[in-house]
Symmetry: C2
Subunit: 309 residues, 2 copies
């Protein structure tokens, strides 16, 4: 069993490659729920949905999130009724949130609701939320303290992030099965997601980081920073504003206490010594997942790295 | 101020005519909420929505309910996720239910949520739900005891109705303003709605029937039965199966304790004596509201009848 710690779009692309080179039943995803939010009293799990939609083959490839060909008639109607509509909820996408929220109100856990959605969407990978409890990330920014989605969508990641507050994640519990999946894994992969905002909340859940340190499984992380830049989103700017420096090596530093293998892009080959100086083995390969072939080749390289360890 | 007791499609058509011949600010609608239901934990008020959409000029004229040009992408997606989808919720329509439900969860009353929707949709008539409390009609049918929408939509009104159970309405309270609107009205109109299933729940709310009996305002009712047939829906079959007989005179009989003027279609002119024998004045005119002109002419005739009383 291969366990993948996952954020949203970058993780989903990588998982797509991984599920093509490995029987998907052998993949367990531990998904970030720090970016979960409520809109119109619906529980929305953006990272999990991106993973679900991508693995179900229904994701909008252009945007990387949401459902391909989705429409926004409900959202436009909400706007006409005077509701806040900065979070883009598609009509088909809404069905996921309605289904999840209904199940949560009936008393199901987020894990149970996710399991049912996964099965209904025909996704073969197991998907576990990092926590069943409320674990929403808040950010102290130059525009004040805001919830993650407010920063990410409403404010378009424009304010500078001064501090990421994972106190809800830190007060939550890992979802059932998470610690065991880490302990029993044959290999663990940290997907190329934002190390602060997507992987950070997962690591903040009590017990998860310790389990990663203690597991016998080899652990690889794929850098989401290539040539000093985030492939998507604000990871580079956030690393900088937190004083960590926007380089793949800074990401390696964040994970040095539990990661054995660090995957660098060809463009960052010069960082090999710096990364290996942190006690990790560097694997250098193409990480910019522009085509299905590259995604699969990256997955293969990471699995090889794990097998060699 | 003219007060109209209203069900769904028939009432909405009449109200459209009335709002064209009277300043709409002078109209107060008391709407049936006996057919309210929850789908995916959303509070749906089908009769109020039909009235709202019709008066806002956005109703689907072909169907008589829902929003013109609406799509059903969310519903189809819910179906793919294994949800029950027999109740037709359009994508734009969903925005109404999300907005209403959000407000109810925030602690607003149904009256307050309705008032906000009316304003957002630019409807000038005042619309009051008969009750702010739960007042869902249940029906004992040849297919068992079912909620109203289950009978009406899921079972397509096919089973015979043996008994209409308004016990929830009877245990509720009139919404704020309802009794005062009846007491202070210059005239009251019972719209051509199903007398058992649409007007019945309103009359079952404690105090409303008494207020209608006691008001100084003249009260007119428009028969929804023409030539022994309901213009829409199962009113004729229900009147028959309850042993009341499917005629306009049977409807007059149901309302004889509070109605002063009973409006018959030209086709039912022969029922004049029978109706007037019940102590009402009969007004005979075209009631089949096929065009805006007929709707307005009907409204004018009813207002004349009220003025003459």
């Amino acid at each position: 069993m291969i366990v993948v710690l996952a954020g949203g779009v970058g993780a989903a692309k990588f998982l797509e490659g991984l599920a093509a080179v490995l029987p998907p039943e052998q993949i367990t995803v531990i998904a970030n729920t720090g970016d979960d939010a409520e809109f119109y009293d619906l529980h929305v799990s953006p990272d999990m949905d991106t993973v679900l939609y991508t693995l179900a083959g229904i994701v909008d490839r252009e945007r990387g999130w949401g459902i391909a060909g989705d429409t926004f008639h409900c959202l436009r109607a909400l706007e006409r009724l005077g509701q806040e509509t900065w979070f883009q909820l598609g009509d088909r996408d809404l069905a996921t949130h309605l289904t999840r929220t209904t199940r949560l109100r009936q008393g199901a856990t987020l894990s149970e609701a996710t399991e049912e959605l996964r099965q209904a969407l025909g996704v073969a990978c197991r998907i576990l939320p990092m926590s069943d409890g409320r674990a929403q990330t808040r950010l102290r920014t130059t525009a004040g303290i805001v919830a993650f989605q407010e920063y990410f969508v409403k404010l378009r990641q424009e304010p500078e992030v001064l501090e990421a507050d994972f106190s809800e994640a830190a007060a939550s519990q890992p979802a059932s099965g998470v610690l065991k999946a880490i302990a029993d894994a044959d290999g663990i992969i940290v997907a190329p997601s934002n190390p602060i905002l997507s992987i950070g909340p997962i690591l903040a859940v009590p017990g998860i980081r310790e389990a990663l340190r203690n597991t016998a499984a080899p652990i690889a992380a794929i850098s989401p920073i290539v040539g000093g830049r985030a492939l998507k989103g604000p990871a580079d700017r956030i690393l900088k504003s937190l004083g960590l420096g926007a380089s793949a090596a800074a990401v390696a530093e964040l994970f040095r206490d539990f990661v054995d293998i660090f995957v660098l892009d060809l463009e960052d080959a010069s960082l090999r010594d710096e990364v290996e100086g942190k006690g990790m083995k560097a694997v250098i390969t193409q990480t910019v997942m522009s085509t299905p072939e590259v995604r699969q080749e990256l997955a293969r390289k990471v699995l090889e790295g794990l097998a060699r360890k």
